[in-house]
């Protein structure tokens, strides 16, 4: 079983993840009309690509709409997503550089590893708290209960499970795996070699791997793809649109007023 999860399943999961994403995005692209049958540009229309880019940036980086129109959602959603990006990035960078990534900005290897641990701990906790906050919100508000399907709760519960196991490994080193070990494991996976023996003994790691791979398998078929959806939707809606110049043909207001158009003495209209 453990062998399947850490040695076989990763290839299956990555394949389904990749093909699934492709399938979904091709399907979106296959719907042919975006701004060519009609324009659904949202006003106020950006007047330059720079302004359009600013709309993208403020929504993606700061969740501006959420902040203004549902602040209590922002409190959970924004930190959660930011922590998620940091944690995902941390996984990639931390394991690739085995915790020594900050050496490149002048830290000692020990300090770098300490920083790596610290950032992981902090963002791992923020991520967990954010997810729990969102789940509590979803369950406790009438409006969110009214809009949610069972799968909407399950997504959150599933993410909470992954993060909880991850945080346990982070906070209790005896259950965790060290940077070099993970590095070796992934190196073996990528080079299609048998994975090292020690991973079979860490059940937290195996559980974490299993859950993450399940997520990868269903991710392309779920609403979790909203990151891509956001770009695709805003690409249709937040674009440059310039109005024609005002000013009416054949009109000279000063001359008309001098003639006195409309005044009875002028004998009628223009």
């Amino acid at each position: 079983m453990a062998y399947f999860i850490v040695q076989i399943l990763p290839y299956i999961a990555v394949t389904i993840f990749g093909l699934g994403l492709l399938f979904r995005l091709v399907r979106w692209a296959g719907a042919r009309l975006l701004g060519t049958s009609h324009e659904i540009t949202l006003a106020p229309f950006p007047q330059s690509p720079f302004q359009a880019g600013w709309v993208f940036l403020r929504e993606i980086a700061f969740f501006r709409n959420v902040f203004f129109f549902d602040p209590s959602l922002w409190v959970g959603a924004w930190p959660m997503h930011m922590a998620l990006f940091m944690v995902l990035g941390g996984h990639a960078v931390g394991f690739y550089f085995t915790g020594h990534q900050f050496v490149y900005i002048g830290m000692s290897p020990e300090l770098s590893e300490y920083m790596s641990n610290l950032l992981g701990s902090v963002f791992g906790l923020v991520l967990l708290l954010g997810l729990i906050y969102l789940l509590v919100r979803k369950v406790s508000l009438v409006k969110t209960r009214q809009v949610s399907n069972p799968s909407d709760y399950l997504h959150l519960i599933f993410l909470i499970a992954i993060v909880t196991v991850g945080d346990i490994m982070r906070y209790f080193p005896q259950y965790g795996m060290h940077y070099e070990e993970v590095y070796e494991y992934f190196k073996a996976l990528i080079l299609l070699q048998p994975v090292p023996e020690f991973v079979f003994h860490n059940w937290f790691f195996i559980t974490h791997m299993l859950l993450v791979q399940c997520l990868m398998i269903y991710f392309p078929f779920s609403k979790l793809l909203h990151l891509f959806g956001m770009f695709a939707m805003r690409w249709i809606e937040n674009r440059v649109h310039i109005d024609p110049e005002p000013g009416l043909p054949g009109v000279d207001v000063a001359a008309a007023r001098a003639r006195g158009t409309g005044l009875p003495s002028a004998g009628g209209t223009a």
């Binding site: 060519t36 006003a43 229309f45 549902d70 939707m233 005002p246 000013g247 207001v253």
Partner: protein, 465 residues
């Protein structure tokens, strides 16, 4: 009739009504099959629709940003739930997860009851796009509503009110059914009214060769005399050579609201032909929100020939002449407290950003022609709908009650400005649907305001000598 299993519904057009638009309704036993086929067509065609179906995360942010939900507290009036009425069917027939794990993701078979549910709730959406504007992802439920209404129309499920307008468009060129003799008669009457009230000679040229084609909303011929008078006075004041076309006497376009494929295009071609026949150089649009959206954002892609004319909105032109100090205006003639209702289609679908966009132009004008202007909050692109958008102007008792509920948020906003405190306030609502909604609604909510267009106030403030 206007209720189906507890759901309020507008009165449906009959088979005879639909025949006037040469539409044969789909028989009940074939409706479901046909609806799925049309839905399949729509999802292959409109990416905006596919994204609305597939990338909502159900955060619930849209709920309390929708006047329909705020007014009725009906869960199906939450924008994402309104879209869910289609999404559940979409998932069931067009997605893997819906086919395999239907219960889990909320997928459902399409039934006649669901179609009736669509009919009820997609005619409770006013297509105001506030949900699209506030959505973190920009998911535009208005697109979903439009597609739902188009499918329902093809099935033969459409309000009598809308079909009546559609028939008017095909018969005489406007949805109010005002033919040329009545247009000329009304405009001659208004000419006399202007003479009596303002002491100036203003003529309304109809179907004359001119530089400028002015297209007023046809509802103005029934309900909004000052809007027509204001526009005519403005054009006369600046000495423009202008005309009103009788072949295409409609700033609105009900086609946008239920039949974009044929009816909307039909009216577009009437405009094109009028412009050719009258030899105009520029087209100027009157006060109509949904219509302005159709003409501005849809026309270039729908009209059958390349367009040779620029089309601008009257507000943009008036604001330009005010900015360049070419009009002499006396704001004290509109001395009552005024507040401005931003029509959704102007501020969320048609206005460029910046000081010369439509949204700010309306403010340029209102500040120049009134003395006591008070903003309502929220305003501009954050404004709430009047509750009548997309011609949800039904008067059968059930739907009329809904209209009162839909306008509750707006009524609270207007009351908060205090303009109606002494019973002499002006509610400036420069859109025909907003006006038609507000005329009864300011009474229902006892707001102490009278309803006017923006150009009405300009006409009153013009100083002729």
């Amino acid at each position: 009739m206007p209720e189906y299993k507890g759901m309020a519904q507008p009165v449906k057009a009959t088979v005879e009504d639909l025949k006037k638009l040469r539409l044969v309704p789909v028989p009940d036993e074939k409706k479901v099959e046909e609806a799925i086929r049309l839905l399949d067509e729509a999802r292959k065609k409109f990416r905006s629709f596919v994204l609305a179906m597939e990338s909502c995360v159900k955060c619930g942010l849209c709920a309390e940003n929708c006047h329909a939900y705020l007014g009725t507290r009906d869960p199906h009036n939450i924008p994402t739930n309104r879209a869910e009425l289609i999404r559940k069917v979409y998932k069931r027939y067009f997605t893997l997860e819906g086919r395999w794990f239907g219960k889990l993701v909320g997928a459902e078979d399409l039934t006649l009851d669901t179609l009736e549910q669509w009919y009820s709730y997609f005619y409770q959406c006013t297509e105001c796009r506030r949900c699209g504007s506030v959505c973190p992802f920009g998911i535009d439920t208005c697109e979903v509503t439009m597609i739902a209404r188009q499918i329902l129309y093809w099935l033969g499920m459409v309000p009598k009110l809308h079909v009546g307008g559609g028939w008017g468009i095909e018969r005489v060129g406007n949805q109010t059914n005002v033919a040329k003799p009545a247009i000329v008669d009304t405009l001659e009457f208004l000419s006399e009214e202007i003479k009596d009230e303002f002491g100036v000679d203003v003529r309304f040229p109809v179907d004359e060769e001119a530089d400028i084609l002015y297209v007023p909303s046809s509802a103005d011929y029934m309900l909004n005399p000052y809007t027509l008078m204001g526009a005519a006075m403005f054009f006369t004041y600046i000495g423009a050579k202008w005309t009103i076309p009788s072949f295409m006497s409609e700033a609105g376009n009900f086609g946008l609201l239920f039949d974009q494929r044929h009816l909307m295009r039909h009216l577009f071609m009437r405009l094109h032909d009028s412009a050719v026949n009258l030899g105009v150089k520029k087209i100027v649009w009157g006060e109509c929100g949904h219509g302005w959206r159709a003409w501005k954002m849809y026309l270039p892609y729908f009209v059958d020939r390349p367009l040779r004319w620029e089309i601008t909105h009257l507000h943009d032109e008036v604001a330009y002449y005010i900015r360049t100090n070419q009009l002499k205006l006396d704001p004290t003639r509109n001395s009552q407290p005024v507040t401005l209702h931003d029509p959704c289609n102007y501020v969320r679908a048609c206005s460029p950003a910046g000081p010369y966009g439509h949204t700010e132009n309306m403010r340029t004008i209102i500040r120049a022609v009134t003395v006591d202007f008070r903003e309502m909050y929220p305003n501009r692109e954050k404004n709430f709908c009047c509750g009548g958008g997309s011609a949800v102007l039904f008067d059968d008792p059930e739907m009329y009650q809904k209209r009162i509920q839909f306008s509750q948020t707006k009524a609270d906003q207007i009351r908060a400005t205090g303009v109606g405190k002494d019973g002499n306030g002006i509610l400036c609502a420069p859109c025909s649907i907003c006006k038609a909604q507000f005329y009864p609604m300011v009474e229902e909510h006892e707001l102490g305001v009278t309803v006017h267009g923006l150009i009405d106030l300009v006409g009153k403030a013009l100083v002729w000598k």
